[in-house]
Symmetry: C2
Subunit: 122 residues, 2 copies
DNA sequence: AACATAGTTGAATGATTGTTCAACTGTTTC
DNA sequence: GAAACAGTTGAACAATCATTCAACTATGTT
């Protein structure tokens, strides 16, 4: 039997065509929480500005002003996005005088981007 | 000198602090178009439902009804998301009678998800 | 032919989100 | 101390998006 969800109400408007497949796959699925976190991570990658920032920081440590000039955006817009990247533990920063220097905080990023590019150029 | 953008108007409200870094990084950046496509791809990954569908299809070929039961969602909602995945060339399908069977159309997906999980569990 | 089921589709809606704007903090320099 | 600059922040706005709903197509069954 198909396992019921939390509330016991089946939202789906059909009966399983291949019950054995569904139950088997259900067992092999990661925890709901992990899948949610995974989607949240990709959501961070799912914005042109953030992708550009990450790609840039993969090449060099940069301050907010540098990134602003590079991407031709306001410091504010860049700062907002850096905050998102910071919260996702993708970038780290160090302060030096008036400047705040950002750099990558994860060595998986380049690999993930490579794989993404591989899919696009196919 | 920092290269001007298309319209010649600098949106950024500051002068580059490290001009040489900016120009060097700018040279090493991929084409605007490729970075856009990359972000678009990750945008597809950036939704819990789609992540679940892809993870499920990595384990077995399934029809819409199966996925609906597995995720406890309406066929309509699942079908909408399958369309997005189809457009991104991430899933393919075959028709058989009343059923439409979906399966993965890219062997990078599992690797990308693995790397994403690696970042989360750190 | 009529009916049930699998799946798709378009419009509508509520929620999320990226950028802008203005105001702010903090550091350096004159 | 005041001006200048780097960076942050919160509210507001426009745009995007995931799900729902209702109507539809198409295939199989009786």
């Amino acid at each position: 039997m198909i396992e019921m969800m939390d509330n016991g109400i089946l939202r789906c408007d059909c009966s399983a065509v291949h019950e054995e497949v569904v139950t088997r796959v259900k067992k092999q699925m990661p925890k709901e929480e992990n899948l949610y976190d995974l989607a949240e991570l990709f959501k961070v990658f799912g914005d042109t500005t953030r992708v550009k920032i990450l790609w840039a920081l993969d090449n060099a440590e940069m301050c907010v002003c540098d990134i602003s000039v590079l991407l031709n955006m306001t410091k504010s817009a860049v700062s907002h996005q850096l905050r998102v990247l910071k919260q996702a533990r993708l970038v780290k920063y160090r302060k030096d005088g008036k400047n705040v220097y950002y750099s990558l905080d994860d060595n998986h990023i380049a690999s993930i981007f490579e794989l993404g590019m591989a899919h696009i150029n196919e």
